[in-house]
C-alpha cells in the first residue's frame, strides 16, 4: 500500500461515514482519486469497491484522472451567466486550447465550470486554485493566466 494512503487511513476509524472525508483527503494528497487507492479505501472501510466508486462519482468534487497544476473554475452561477460567464469560458478555452473539463498538455491548467462560488455580486467570476477573480472581462483573461504560467 502506498505510504501516503496508509498515513491517511491511519487517522480514520474505519466507519463507512468517513468515506467522503477519506476521499477528500486522498484527493488532496494525490490530486485525484487513483483506482488502487479507492480499492484500499474500500478494504479499509469494508465497503464494496463499486460503492466507493459510486459515492466518489456522485460528487462533483472528485476526479479520476490527474489534474493540472492549477485548477481554473469558471463560475456559471446565475449572476455570472447573465453577466457573460460563457464568453469568459469561451475565451479561456481558446486561450488554453482545451475544452472545459480537460487539462492542458503541459499539465499546467485544468479547466472546468462550477455551479456557483458564491461571489455573485462580482460576476462574472473565475477561481484559479483558491484565488477568486471577480468582474472578469474577456480581455483580461490572458493577463490573469499570465500570473500562473
Amino acid at each position: 500500500m502506498d505510504e501516503r494512503v496508509k498515513n491517511i487511513l491511519a487517522s480514520f476509524r474505519g466507519h463507512r461515514s468517513e468515506i467522503i472525508p477519506i476521499l477528500q483527503a486522498v484527493q488532496h494528497e494525490f490530486g485525484y482519486l487513483p483506482e488502487q487507492e479507492m480499492k484500499e479505501i474500500a478494504k479499509f472501510l469494508r465497503v464494496p469497491e463499486s460503492q466507493v466508486y459510486g459515492v466518489a462519482t456522485f460528487y462533483a468534487q472528485f476526479y479520476f484522472t490527474p489534474r493540472g497544476k492549477h485548477e481554473i473554475k469558471v463560475c456559471l452561477g446565475t449572476a455570472c451567466h447573465v453577466r457573460g460567464a460563457n464568453k469568459i469560458l469561451d475565451a479561456l478555452e481558446r486561450e488554453l486550447g482545451i475544452c472545459c473539463g480537460e487539462t492542458t498538455s503541459d499539465a499546467l491548467f485544468s479547466l472546468e465550470k462550477v455551479a456557483c462560488v458564491g461571489s455573485c455580486a462580482l460576476a462574472p467570476v473565475v477561481m484559479i486554485d483558491d484565488n477568486v477573480y471577480g468582474r472578469l472581462e474577456t480581455k483580461k483573461v490572458k493577463e490573469v493566466l499570465g500570473k500562473y504560467a
Binding site: 460528487y59 462533483a60 446565475t78 449572476a79 455570472c80 455551479a115 458564491g118 455580486a121 462580482l122 474577456t138
Partner: protein, 629 residues
C-alpha cells in the same frame, strides 16, 4: 455557571470598549470571499506598506462582509475622535493616497468615501443609515457581519453573543421550543417550514441519541447569504445550534458546509475551537451538565444534498440520493435513523437573538405569517449588487430600485429571478408585490434560499430557463425518471428552440412535461426543476413564440438566431474588430469598410464590444433582419 460567563462577558466588553476608545486609528478591511476576489489582500499589503513607510501607528483588522459587494474593496477607518468612515472600491493605489491624506493630513476624502457608519457626522459624507441602499434594510442575521472580527469570540460576546445560550440553559427544553414556536420563525432554507413545529417534533421523538444538523450546503447559483453568515459571524450559528441541541436533547451536531466555501470552513473551525475553550461548547457547557459537540462535514459538490434526506445520506457516506416517500420524517428518523433536527444557517443564526430578546421582539418585524427579515443576495443586472436584509413584506420594486439602485447601465428592467433553480422569474408587473414566502409562491416563484437575480432587456428568458434547467439536470441525483430524463427532455426541447428548431406545440409540450415532473418526482429538486421554465412561459410566452415562430431571439442572446454585421456607412475601417476577431472572420483594408464572413463567425460578439462608441458600426440582428441596440 452564571458567574463564569459574567466575567467572560465583562472581559470581552472591556476589550471591545477599549478598542473603541483606541488612541490610534483602526483600519477595517472587508476581506470575506468577495472582498478578497476584488483584491482585499493586495489592499491590506498596501496599507501595511504605507503604515511602515510613513511610520503611522494603526490597527489593521479584517472583517466580514457588510454586504455592499458593489463597493468592494471596502476599507473603514476609525480615527480617534472621529466617526467610522467607510471607503469604497479601494485599490492599493487609492488606499495609499487615502492613508496619507486622512491619517497624516486629516483630509477625510469625501470623494472616496461611501458613507459614515454609526454615530457622528463628517462634512460631505452621508450617513449610511440615510442612504437608499441602507435605509430600508433591517439587520438581524447580518447585524455582526462586517462589524466584528469573525475570528474573535470576544468581539461576538461583546455584541450580546452567547447571552441566548446562557438564558436557554436556565430554561426547560420545552420552554425554548415554545419561544421558537411563538416567534413564528420559519425555516430559511427555502420552503419556510415553521421551525417551532420541527423543534417540537424532534423534542418529542423518542431516541437515546439525537442530532442537530445545519444545512450550510448553499448550492443555489446566485446565492451566498449563508456563506456570508458563516464567514462573518460564525458564532451566531454555533450558538444557535447549541441552543437547538439543548432544546431537543441532542449531544452532537454537524455543520454540512459546501466544498466550495473554504474560508467558511476555516472560520467555523476556529470559532468551534474558541467556543470550546470558553466552555460554551463541548463537555458540560458552563457547568450546566449539558454537553454538545459540533463537527464540520464538508460536502463534496452535489446540489441535491441541500435536500434533507440526501444530506443525511451524504453524512452517512452514501450517494446523496433523497429517500423517496413514504418515509419517516427526518425529525423522527434522520441521521443513522435517529431523530434529527435539520435547519438552515440563517434559521439557526436567528435563534440566539430570539431567545435573548424574546419572541415578541422577533414578531414585531415582518408580516402576519412571515415574521422577521429576509436576506437576499441581490445580483445580476443591478447597480448595487450585494447582500441585503429587509423586513418581510417589503415591496419587490423597492429592493430593486431603492436598495439596488436600479438596473445596471440604466437599461430596461425585464424580470427578477428569485429562488434559484427552484424558483421563477417575475416580470415588471409584479414589482409592487410585498415579498415574503407565500406571496412569491403565489406569483409562481419562491423565496428559496434568497437569491435574487435582476434581468434586463438584454437577457433572453428562454435562455435563462434553459440555463436553470441545465443546472438542475446536471445536479439531479438521477434516481427517478421524471427528474433524470424529464429535465433532459425539456432541455433538449429548449436547446432546439434556442437553436431555431422549435416546433409548433413545443410550448404546450413543455408545460405538460413540467407538470408531470413536478407531480411525480421524488424530491424537491425534481419537483421544482420545471419552475423556471413554467414561470417564464407564464410571463414571457411571447419570447418563446418569437423563437419558435419567427426564429428570433429578441434579446439577441441565442447565437443561432442572431447575426452580426458591419454597417458600411458607419465603419471607418479602424481595424479594431478585425484584430480582435478570434476566428479571423472579419476582413477589410485600412480605412475601408470591414465585412464579416458569416460562415466563419462564431458570434462571440467581440467585434460588437470593441467597436468604438463613436462609430457603433457593428450591429446585431435577429429574426427577420430586425436589428436591435
Amino acid at each position: 455557571m452564571h458567574e463564569a460567563f459574567v466575567s467572560l462577558r465583562a472581559e470581552a466588553i472591556r476589550k471591545w470598549e477599549e478598542r473603541q476608545q483606541s488612541t490610534i486609528p483602526r483600519i477595517l478591511v472587508g476581506s470575506a470571499t468577495c472582498g478578497c476576489a476584488t483584491g482585499a489582500l493586495d489592499v491590506i499589503t498596501a496599507i501595511e506598506q504605507k503604515l511602515q513607510e510613513t511610520g503611522i501607528k494603526a490597527h489593521i483588522q479584517q472583517v466580514g462582509c457588510i454586504g455592499m459587494c458593489y463597493a468592494e474593496v471596502l476599507v473603514d477607518i476609525i480615527k480617534p475622535g472621529r466617526p467610522r468612515i467607510s471607503y469604497k472600491n479601494m485599490t492599493p493605489e487609492t488606499v495609499a493616497e487615502l492613508l496619507e491624506d486622512y491619517l497624516l493630513n486629516d483630509n477625510p476624502r469625501p470623494d472616496l468615501a461611501l458613507a459614515v457608519i454609526g454615530e457622528g457626522e463628517v462634512e460631505g459624507i452621508p450617513n449610511l443609515a440615510d442612504e437608499p441602499v441602507f435605509k430600508s434594510q433591517q439587520r438581524i442575521v447580518l447585524k455582526n457581519c462586517g462589524h466584528i472580527d469573525p475570528e474573535s469570540i470576544e468581539d461576538y460576546m461583546a455584541q450580546d453573543g452567547y447571552m441566548g445560550l446562557v438564558k436557554a440553559l436556565q430554561m426547560q427544553p420545552q420552554e425554548i421550543v415554545d419561544i421558537v414556536t411563538k416567534s413564528e420563525l420559519r425555516g430559511r432554507g427555502g420552503a419556510g417550514f415553521p421551525a417551532g413545529r420541527k423543534w417540537n417534533s424532534c423534542l418529542r421523538a423518542a431516541g437515546d441519541q439525537k442530532y442537530v444538523i445545519c444545512n450550510a450546503d448553499e448550492g443555489d447559483p446566485g446565492a451566498f447569504m449563508d456563506r456570508s453568515v458563516q464567514e462573518g459571524d460564525p458564532h451566531a450559528l454555533i450558538e444557535g445550534m447549541t441552543i437547538a441541541g439543548y432544546a431537543i436533547g441532542a449531544s452532537k451536531g454537524y455543520i454540512y458546509v459546501r466544498a466550495e466555501y473554504p474560508l467558511a470552513v476555516v472560520r467555523l473551525k476556529k470559532a468551534i475551537e474558541q467556543a470550546k475553550e470558553k466552555n460554551l461548547l463541548g463537555e458540560n457547557i458552563l457547568g450546566s451538565g449539558f454537553s454538545f459537540d459540533l463537527e464540520i462535514f464538508q460536502g463534496a459538490g452535489a446540489f441535491v444534498c441541500g435536500e434533507s434526506t440526501a444530506l443525511v445520506m451524504s453524512i452517512e457516506g452514501k450517494r446523496g440520493m433523497p429517500r423517496p416517500l413514504p418515509r419517516p420524517r427526518t425529525t423522527e428518523a434522520g441521521l443513522w435513523n435517529k431523530p434529527t433536527l435539520l435547519n438552515n444557517v440563517k434559521t439557526f443564526a436567528y435563534v440566539p437573538q430570539i431567545i435573548h430578546k424574546g419572541a415578541d421582539w422577533f414578531t414585531s418585524t415582518g408580516t402576519e405569517g412571515c415574521r422577521g427579515t429576509a436576506v437576499f443576495a441581490l445580483t445580476g443586472k443591478i447597480k448595487r449588487s450585494g447582500l441585503i436584509e429587509v423586513p418581510m413584506g417589503i415591496e419587490l420594486g423597492k429592493i430593486i430600485h431603492e436598495i439596488g439602485g436600479g438596473v445596471l447601465n440604466d437599461r430596461k428592467f425585464k424580470a427578477v429571478q428569485t429562488g434559484g433553480p427552484s424558483g421563477g422569474c417575475l416580470p415588471e408587473s409584479k414589482l409592487n408585490l410585498p415579498v415574503d414566502f407565500d406571496t412569491l409562491v403565489e406569483a409562481g416563484s419562491m423565496m428559496g434560499s434568497g437569491g435574487m437575480v435582476v434581468l434586463d432587456e438584454t437577457t433572453c428568458m428562454v435562455d435563462v430557463a434553459r440555463y436553470f434547467l441545465q443546472f438542475t439536470l446536471e445536479e439531479s441525483c438521477g434516481q427517478c425518471v421524471p427528474c433524470r430524463l424529464g429535465t433532459l427532455q425539456m432541455l433538449e426541447i429548449l436547446n432546439e428552440i434556442c437553436a431555431g428548431k422549435g416546433r409548433e406545440g413545443d410550448i404546450e409540450l413543455l408545460v405538460e412535461l413540467g407538470k408531470s415532473i413536478i407531480a411525480s418526482s421524488i424530491c424537491g429538486l425534481g419537483k421544482s426543476a420545471p419552475n423556471p421554465v413554467l414561470s417564464t412561459i407564464n410571463y414571457f410566452r411571447d419570447e418563446y413564440e418569437a423563437h419558435i415562430k419567427d426564429r428570433a431571439c429578441p434579446a439577441l442572446v441565442c447565437k443561432d438566431l442572431i447575426k452580426y454585421s458591419i454597417d458600411v456607412e458607419k465603419c471607418s475601417g479602424c481595424g479594431l474588430c478585425r484584430k480582435n476577431c478570434p476566428t479571423e472572420a472579419i476582413t477589410g483594408g485600412k480605412k475601408e469598410p470591414h465585412v464579416i464572413d458569416q460562415v466563419k463567425c462564431t458570434k462571440c460578439g467581440i467585434c460588437y464590444d470593441v467597436c468604438p462608441d463613436r462609430f457603433r458600426a457593428v450591429a446585431c440582428f435577429t429574426g427577420k433582419e430586425k436589428a436591435a441596440v
